[in-house]
Amino acid sequence: MIASLYLSLTKYDLHAMEFVGFENYRRLMVDDPLFWKSLSNTLVYAIFSVPLGLIGSLAVAVLLNQRVRGQRVFRTLFYLPSIVPVVASALLWQWIFNADNGLLNMALSVIGVPPISWLQNEHWTMPAFVLMSLWGIGGGRMIIFLAGLQGIPETCYEAARIDGASTWRSFLKITLPLLSPVMFFNLILGVIGAFQVFTSAYVMTGGGPNNASLFYALYLFRNAFEYFKLGKASAMAWVLFTILVVLTAVQFASSRKWVYYEAQPA
């Protein structure tokens, strides 16, 4: 960590190291439009994929928590996409997003939507990445929600039913409050995860078109291991770390307002 902090204050290309103070940070902020581009791309991605992913995985968890036959098979089917290796899933989605013969455009043409160049048109690239991220909503986050749902005592629901509450109302008034700690945990990990998108962009688009999918982690990787600007890359790593600390702190501060903790038996 400290080595990385020191590196971020130097100009280092694997051969000669020179102390430059805050020059790397100044250059990033002032002279490097791609830094801002990658940051805003990543923020846009996070703003859409994190809430949609949370709602989606909660919905799947609720569905998979119902007592019906064959639930185990369904759980497996929903979970499976999240264990697919990233490179393979990137290739698979690249083919689904294919403009001419991709599965998605074929499905959309049935309802009369003209073909979209998902990965070639810079306006559609980010929606494509968000859509792809939703394939994984049945994964780890869903399991955590599911465990949370199963931890809610049945008696709470019975009491609500006796009081005449509808299913929807007891979901709003019982499930959501009791699930809020789990929601909080998933939110924090989701935000951090959104800032780490690398492999799928590296494989599918290489950051293009016109840097529309240049994610922060990808740009950092390029600076470090393609352009060998290790000082600059370390500075980027520290900016990332600071952003995540601030975001996490904000979430913790806001959590007092909406996260409900049961009185823990001491």
Binding site: V182, W238, L244, T248
Partner: protein, 280 residues
Amino acid sequence: MSQARTAPTKSALVYLLLLVGSAIFSIPFLWTLSTALKTHANVFSQPPQIWPHPIAWDNFSKAWTALPFTSFVLNTIMLAVVCTSAQVVTGSLVAYGFARFSFRGSKLLFGVLLSTMMLPGQVSMIPVFLIWRDLRAIDTYWPLIVPAFFGGGAFNIFLLRQFFVSIPRELDEAAMIDGAGYPQIWWRVLMPLSGPALATVAVFSFIGHWDDFMGPLIYLNSPEKYTVAVGLRMFQDSYGTDLEQVMAASVIHILPVVVLFFCAQRYFLRGINLTGMGGR
């Protein structure tokens, strides 16, 4: 009772949603498989072929031999097996420490451990790379293997610790009266009782290493040392236009994970449920 009347419609609705949802989630798999079995001419045919005809099994053998996939697979299995065993053993040892011993600062240390889960890998990536370069270990497997011997990450340790805490301490004490030391308690008492948790950690860890892309990408230069993930990416670079073969190669990458998941599924989801949220 209204409850009895609404129940059938409700469960029908649940079924419908489950069926539609799992169909949507499975389609990308089926489509990949279908593409992997088509002839080159049929991949782009209009209207698209749903069921491949004729079935081109040789896509798999073509993809397998176009690049040295045999050595990619062997490399990856070697790495994943070594790392997984190391992580299960050292991770459970650390977890044993956190579960059974409280010393000055042990809570703080556990907190620090958990907070590393939130630390983005990018921050330590570059200094760690430079250390390995100074040790002249670039293009060897050491940078990929050695970290696994240090407990293998906060999540695994957390999972195992939660499980160990749930095992009654009386068992430790009984063993101690019988003359067992701490190492024996860990290895002979706690480990045999922790099957589901260990299996969960092992499966997670194996999948993680089978899947790992950035590590091999950074540290390995010679193609004969590549893992499947990096090899697949190289395949896309060289044979990207032969989509049916790219898909066949992807299936080769996906299949072992899916098979492993099905074999271990019994422990898997249960292990997480039992341990993951224990103290939360």
